[in-house]
């Protein structure tokens, strides 16, 4: 069987983490003693790090592992030694303790949250069998080997072997959205032998089967094991196992035996390790700080040597007034050496403020507040779900401004995972547009548009919305084609009806099918129930029963499905499928309907809708019987069965008559295309990684503008072997190479920038021209890559990695489909590792968790059912479109602010600290501080902290509106333009010169300074106070210059800091009796001080002004220009506000492309015809009823590789169901 011999791609790459020592797992059901000897993990989950007792030591230990903290601890110890201490230890101790305490509180809070969520999960209730009785137990107490009862819509507590279920044949339905993100129902089936136990607790309690199976691993689609029970062995595979994180659906109850629990479950094994994420600025900062430390040490070394010389030349003789310390040897050389060595440490203390401890605190605080700005942004609040954006990690904000790659999940992230029946074309007429009654123009769907009222129909669904009244009128007119059309929709599918609290509900394998059947239902063609050989529908309130003769099921090759039905003796084939497939099989006459429908199809496809063509064919009995026989023969053949069946199907699906076409909208989330195009303009590459099928992925790619028609090529890599993948990638590379050659100027990233700028301008113009005729900007350079999961396996192989990376990174967009969660993470890691780019992963399901964790920044979509992605994420957003604002506004601002903050911070600390260095030349390198120790402690804490904090929190170069309208503003972050080593050096040099001038100008004026009253003004305290005051004034003036966006807070902090400086100096000296009392006031009453201040400030600020003016005037950046524009705009803001309209969500696609709507794998067709999933036996009064056959099909289920034909059933009552292909129960949820 070809299908099953295909390699299961996902399994071969995924690494298997084996527990040391455990090579196999042996479990005995309901036998805790036996299982206890293996010490398997129980179902308790622990993600928290600390307990109450371990918190303090562990947390401190962790904190001192941070280089900075350790450094300051060393400093503190040094300051305790009197011979060295040049400053009181308090100056270091207070900030250090503050930092440690702050971080500890934050860590404690985070860990508390983890404890809460752990205990919430651990305390979920589950029904466990104990000695044949059901006991309510906590999840945490569930052990391997326990048997658990689960009920509908409950989460599965652990990885379990299914024992019995409420559904016939031991079937059970699960939703695996938490695991792999797929929301369609999956079917699992337990062993028939165990299924017999039903819900007899006593019997199940006595179940003592023994399982020998694989060790815990992270492969979601693979399970191998053997069950030994009652002397017989049964093979176990993935089909008999339900995994933790799944949700039970449509199954009243089921029993399962725990195989893997807690951290051994596949869900937990897949979740990967939480890594401590750090931003690239953090890393740069660490590098810079190490650099600064070296700079500091070299300054100290310099001072040491100089001190040695000074002590030998001068200090030694100065001993008559200043004797050396007792511990210093009296020998001149030795003594000088010892003093010099001690001075090394003293200077390390004095100059340590170049590596300010408050930097770390300030950075943390700024990020923290920035996170709140993200949380509070009402533009990122989603009213429908009532959720807002949330920064779950507060340490990564500025990295949001540097994202180069976005990896996005599709389902639930880009799309809403809602399919809506949007339009249709029936018998040459197109329905679905809202036409203005007066003008005849097609109207855009607006808020106020009233949908048709279907309430006359008892089975109508209120959430179904359709706006074109003419279709309902056509139905009421009993238009024959329209009726056939809807009957087809109601009949030709594999949907299962289900009664839920009195309401009819449908369970479909794909949302597309569900949408079609529900559309028919609302128009009065209600699919009521099905049996293996009949389908019952309500047509406008009248019951119609069709005899189901055959289901020609869907598969990827056929791209269509058909049913053959008999009603009132008439045989009819209903078929729906992809347009090109259907058109090939239509009657050979040039029908106007074909042309019209084709036009409509093009229109639908152009609007990004997923289309299906519907066709019927009347059959005569002779032909059908003949065909049926051949079909049966083919179904029985042992080799090439699939191909033979396909050929047989081909025979009957021809000469069909076209009915029309449907158009389904795979509803994108609001604003996704705009967001994507904006992000792309910002120079961010967007990759879609999805578990979906290739077609679906491409389709979505088109509708969200990732793929466009002006792309040169959409290159698909879908090979299965290493060599083929290599070949395909090689071709892709050649294609890119060729394109670049032919494109010449347009190639490369510069082209993009040119284009986007034009696009920005074009918006307003093309608004009314509607795109079609307007020449699109030449983006034609792009190639898109679509790569399948099974090819990705090889592409990610170390040998091909480079090639793949090279090719993929030159593509305009990349879509990876059918990828496993782990592959998603691997792709992210690949880019992270090799491109050194900042990556962001966004997803909504548990299948995205590994990717979210792997990326620099993980974003979870909140407001959905599963919370796993959100819990693992750094930021959570209610909608994908908010990503645009998160990155282009908040990210950019955060980056801008952080960079500005850092530049200023280093500047101010260099300016401050180096004054001591200059002073060293005059004080005999004795490590005497120039400033008051109180000033030194307060400088970073009070005098200069607030303005720069307010800058770090509130500053913005351009406002949010312009940030969004000029996505190019985002690009500086990609090149680290705003803060890098060069920028740091600039700031440091700025600080260096500032300190130099700060010292030298007062030196000049105060060298022989006397007051008019004759008092000498050249004393140390006065000089220190003067320099300190000018320093504060200059540094504050500088921050005022740097502040681009003045809020009342900026005013408050900037003027406030000046006031605080003077107030504190006054208070500490006059109230608390500081030794500097009177120094500053003495200085300030003398005009010398003011003249000096004005001179120094001018000297320091004018060059900065000149420098800035020059660059803004001569080489303005985009940001400068936008700011200028913004300023001009705000001047005439009362004039007309030009509203930049974003292009319409559905930009018309020019190409004729079919996006056909079958997002699912093979349907339930086989199960339906075999009757396996039927609960009710069809009513006896229908003449074609027959007893259901279980035995033989079940035999097949145990050994799926051996085709077994349902002979017993076919012999009985001449039923038609033997037309169905042999039973392969596991087949339909096969992955590839």
């Amino acid at each position: 069987m070809a299908r099953q011999s295909r390699p299961t791609s996902s399994t071969s790459t995924a690494s298997t983490r084996r527990r040391r020592g455990e090579t196999e797992r042996r479990i005995r059901a309901n036998d805790r003693e036996f299982n206890a000897q293996f010490h398997y993990a129980n179902n308790y989950i622990k993600t928290s790090k600390y307990s109450v007792l371990t918190f303090l030591p562990l947390n401190l230990f962790e904190q001192f592992q941070r280089l900075a903290n350790f450094y300051f601890l060393c400093l503190l110890v040094l300051q305790m030694i009197p011979a060295i201490s040049s400053l009181t230890p308090v100056t270091t101790a207070v900030p250090l303790i503050g930092v440690l305490a702050l971080t500890a509180v934050k860590d404690a809070y985070d860990d508390y949250q983890r404890h809460v969520s752990d205990s919430q999960v651990n305390n979920r209730k589950s029904l466990t069998l104990r000695n044949g009785k059901l006991v309510e137990d906590k999840w945490a107490q569930v052990q391997v080997g326990d048997v658990i009862r689960m009920e509908n819509d409950q989460f599965v507590a652990a990885d379990m072997l299914l024992l019995s279920t409420s559904e016939p044949n031991g079937l059970c339905y699960i939703e695996t959205a938490e695991l792999d993100g797929e929301t369609n129902l999956k079917c699992r089936q337990c062993l028939l032998e165990t299924a017999e136990m039903g819900q007899d607790d006593a019997r199940i309690g006595a179940f003592n089967g023994e399982i020998l199976c694989e060790t815990p691993n992270n492969l979601l689609n693979k399970f191998e094991g053997v069950l030994t029970w009652q002397g017989k062995s049964y093979a176990l595979d993935n089909d008999k196992v339900v995994l933790r994180g799944c949700v039970l659906r449509n199954t009243q109850w089921c029993y399962g035996m725990v195989i893997f629990a807690g951290k051994d479950t596949k869900l937990m094994q897949n979740s990967g390790k939480t890594k401590f994420k750090r931003t690239s600025i953090d890393r740069l900062l660490n590098f810079i700080i190490i650099g600064i430390v070296f700079f500091l040490l070299s300054m100290c070394l310099f001072c040491t040597i100089a001190c040695g010389f000074w002590e030998t030349i001068t200090g030694r003789h100065f001993q008559i007034y200043l004797p050396w310390d007792k511990l210093v040897p009296t020998d001149p050389t030795e003594g000088a050496t010892v003093i010099a060595l001690l001075v090394f440490f003293s200077y390390a203390i004095v100059l340590n403020t170049v590596v300010p401890i408050s930097l770390y605190v300030s950075v943390e605080v700024i990020r923290f507040v920035q996170s709140f700005l993200i949380n509070w942004d009402e533009h990122m609040y989603h009213e429908k779900s009532g959720t807002s954006a949330k920064a779950r990690t507060t340490t990564l904000n500025e990295e949001l401004g540097q994202i180069e790659y976005i990896f996005s999940d599709k389902t639930g992230t880009l799309t809403q995972n809602i399919m809506t029946f949007n339009k249709c074309s029936i018998g040459e007429k197109c329905y679905g547009d809202i036409i203005d009654e007066q003008t005849g123009e097609v109207l855009e769907l607006a808020e106020g548009t009233v949908p048709i009222d279907f309430s006359a129909n008892p089975d109508y669904e209120p959430e179904f919305k359709f706006y074109d009244k003419s279709l309902l009128e056509a139905v009421r007119r009993k238009d024959e084609t329209v009726h056939s059309f809807f009957k087809l929709l109601a009949l030709c599918h594999t949907v299962m009806p289900d009664e839920k609290s009195g309401r009819l509900e449908y369970q479909a394998q794909s949302p597309d099918e569900a949408a079609l059947v529900s559309a028919a239902r609302n128009f009065g063609f209600v699919f009521k129930e099905r049996s293996p050989n009949s389908i019952t529908i309500d047509v406008m309130g009248e019951r119609e029963v069709y005899e189901l003769l055959c289901i020609l099921d869907f598969n990827n090759v056929r791209k269509r499905m058909s049913v053959i039905l008999r009603k009132d003796g008439k045989l009819r084939l209903f078929c729906k499928g992809a347009d090109n497939v259907i058109y090939e099989r239509l009657k050979n006459n040039s029908d106007s309907r074909k042309i019209k429908t084709q036009d409509h199809l093009n229109k639908f496809a152009g609007e990004g809708l997923r289309t299906l063509c519907l066709a019927v064919r009347d059959l005569d009995d002779d032909f059908f019987n003949d065909w049926k026989n051949r079909h049966q023969a083919a179904a029985l053949s042992l080799d090439n069965r699939d191909e033979k069946l396909d050929a047989i199907y081909e025979e009957i699906e021809k000469d069909m008559e076209l009915l029309g076409a449907t158009a389904i909208e795979d509803k994108l989330q609001d604003g996704v295309p705009q967001a994507i195009s904006k992000l792309a303009q910002a120079g961010i590459k967007i990759w879609v990684l999805t578990g979906d099928k290739q077609e679906t992925a491409i389709n979505i790619g088109y509708s969200c503008q990732l793929l466009t028609d002006d792309m040169a090529e959409v290159f698909i890599v879908d090979a299965h072997t290493f060599e083929e993948v290599e070949l395909q990638l090689g071709k892709l590379k050649d294609a890119i190479g060729n394109l670049e050659k032919s494109d010449g100027v347009n190639g490369g990233p510069t082209a993009v920038s040119v284009v986007t700028f034009r696009w920005g301008k074009e918006q307003s113009e093309s608004d009314y021209q509607h795109g079609c005729s307007v020449e699109e900007p030449e983006i034609s350079g792009g190639i898109a890559l679509v790569i399948n999961g099974h090819s990705l396996v090889h592409a990610l192989h170390p040998k091909l990695e480079k090639l793949f990376l090279e090719a993929a990174s030159q593509c305009k967009s990349v879509i990876c489909c059918r990828v496993t969660p782990l592959q998603k993470a691997m792709v992210v890691e690949l880019i992270k590792k090799n491109k050194h780019a900042v990556t962001l992963a966004i997803g909504d399901g548990a299948n995205d968790v590994s990717m979210i964790k792997a990326a620099h920044i993980g974003v979870g979509i909140s407001g959905q059912e599963g919370m796993q992605a959100v819990l693992a994420s750094d930021y959570s957003l209610p909608q994908f479109r908010f990503l645009e604002r998160l990155l282009l506004v908040h990210g950019r601002w955060s980056y801008f602010r952080m960079c500005k903050f850092l530049r200023y911070f280093f500047y101010k600390n260099f300016a401050f600290t180096l004054c001591h260095f200059w002073f060293a030349f005059f004080c005999g390198f004795s490590a005497q501080t120039l400033f008051d120790p109180i000033f030194i402690s307060f400088y970073n804490l009070f005098y200069t902290a607030l303005p720069v904090m307010s800058l770090g929190v509130f500053d913005q170069d351009v406002n949010d509106k312009n940030s969004l309208s000029y996505p190019k503003l985002y690009t500086p972050g990609h090149q680290d333009l705003l803060f890098n080593k060069k920028e740091f050096l600039k700031s440091a040099m700025h600080g260096f010169f500032t300190s130099c001038i700060l010292f030298l100008v007062p030196y000049g004026t105060y060298l022989d300074g006397v007051s008019p009253k004759g008092h000498a003004l050249s004393d140390h305290m006065l000089f220190g106070s003067v320099v300190a005051t000018i320093l504060i004034i200059v540094v504050t003036a500088q921050i005022a210059l740097d502040t681009a966006y003045w809020t009342w807070w900026s005013h408050f902090t900037i003027w406030g800091s000046l006031c605080i400086y003077f107030a504190f100096t006054f208070i500490t000296n006059y109230v608390f009796g500081g030794s500097y009392v009177g120094s500053l006031s003495k200085a300030m009453i003398e005009p010398t001080f003011w003249f000096t201040t004005i001179l120094t400030v001018t000297l320091l600020i004018v060059p900065v002004l000149a420098w800035r003016f020059y660059f803004v005037d001569v080489k303005p950046t985009l940001s400068d220009r936008v700011r200028l524009k913004q300023r001009l705009e705000s001047l005439r803001s009362r004039q007309s506000q030009d509203i930049l309209r974003t292009p319409s969500a559905r930009r018309t696609r020019r190409s004729i492309r079919s996006g056909y709507a079958f997002a699912h794998q093979e349907g339930f067709g086989r199960l339906i015809t075999s009757g396996k999933i039927m609960r009710k036996i069809p009513r006896p009064n229908t003449d074609f009823s027959f007893p259901l056959s279980f035995g033989s099909t079940i035999g097949a289920s145990l050994s799926p590789r051996k085709p077994v034909v349902a002979t017993s059933s076919s012999s009985s009552a001449g039923a038609f169901n033997n037309l169905a292909p042999p039973e392969i129960p596991g087949g339909f949820n096969e992955q590839s």
């Binding site: 001068t314 200090g315 003789h317 100065f318 008559i320 007034y321 200043l322 004797p323 310390d325 007792k326 003293s346 002073f919 005059f922 004080c923 005999g924 004795s926 490590a927 005497q928 100008v1001 030196y1003 000049g1004 004026t1005 105060y1006 060298l1007 022989d1008 300074g1009 006397v1010 007051s1011 008019p1012 004759g1014 008092h1015 000498a1016 003004l1017 050249s1018 004393d1019 140390h1020 305290m1021 006065l1022 000089f1023 006059y1070 009796g1073 030794s1075 009392v1077 009177g1078 006031s1081 003495k1082 003398e1086 005009p1087 010398t1088 003249f1091 001179l1095 001018t1098 000297l1099 004018v1102 000149a1106 003016f1109 020059y1110 001569v1114 303005p1116 220009r1121």
Partner: protein
């Protein structure tokens, strides 16, 4: 030379006479400063070597350890030193007299030379009789007089409140510095206008040794203006900076006209 004499025997007396001529009148108030060079009053160990609490009059038999090694005189005499510390110990103690050729002795005032704030807030005598209060305390080793005998003519100018001490205790920022020594008494006849041109004699009772560390001593007579003493730095700096700003202004105007059309 006196310096050498003192070097040999610090207790010996030596007087140094220096004559000089004022070419023109010093109009206004004239102040006399002493200047020291290469004197590291700003050295870390020097700066910290004082006990501010003691100087506020709170005498304590155990002064702050900052004063080491000038806390107690020596191993035998365990009396604490007042004022303790290296700064006080190295108090400048030359006595300078100014004699005008025409008018004889110039009357010099030794009050009003310290900052009022210092006198008020940083230096207080212990209460009661000074001699009694300082009985249990030794004078700094370098000193020739006790702390309560610093100004024999003015009982209020003794102890910690002695202005010469206060001036000295305000350590200088730079190794070259001047400190106010005396004010010329302009109420005396002949000095109302200031110091008139003519020949003068400086009579210096040489006590203070600067030779070992290659220091120098100066005596400076100076009048003051709004900006204090004679200091050309500010003026020159203002002229230079002003011209640069002007130049920059013109330059940027040109740049703006030429390239700023964006």
């Amino acid at each position: 030379m006196c310096a050498d004499v003192i070097l040999k025997d610090p207790t010996s007396e030596c007087t140094c006479d220096i004559t000089f001529t004022l070419d023109k009148d010093f109009a206004g108030k004239v102040y006399m400063y002493y200047g020291l060079t290469n004197f590291y009053q700003n050295h870390r160990r020097y700066v910290k070597s004082r006990d501010d609490s003691q100087l506020l009059g709170r005498l304590n038999p155990k002064p702050s350890s900052d004063c080491n090694p000038f806390t107690t005189t020596n191993a035998n005499d365990t009396r604490a030193i007042a004022p303790c510390g290296a700064i006080a110990n190295s108090l400048f103690n030359d006595e300078i007299e100014l004699i005008s050729e025409k008018l004889g002795q110039v009357k010099l005032l030794n009050t009003g030379i310290a900052w009022p704030s210092d006198k008020k807030m940083k230096f207080n005598n212990p209460s009661g009789d000074l001699t009694e209060a300082f009985k249990e305390y030794a004078k700094p080793p370098n000193w020739r007089k006790n702390v309560y005998e610093l100004d024999p003519n003015n009982p209020d100018n003794n102890g910690f409140e002695n202005e010469d001490l206060i001036v000295w205790m305000r350590t200088s920022a730079l190794p070259t510095f001047r400190k106010l020594y005396r004010r010329v008494d302009h109420t005396a006849t002949g000095f109302v206008q200031g110091l008139l041109a003519g020949n003068y004699l400086l009579k210096i009772k040489y006590n203070y040794s600067v030779k070992p560390f290659d220091g120098t001593k100066r005596v400076i007579l100076s009048t003051t203006s709004l900006l204090g003493g004679k200091n050309p730095f500010l003026g020159i700096a203002y002229i230079v900076v002003g011209s640069i700003c002007l130049l920059l202004g013109v330059l940027f105007l040109l740049i703006h006209i030429k390239c700023g059309k964006r």
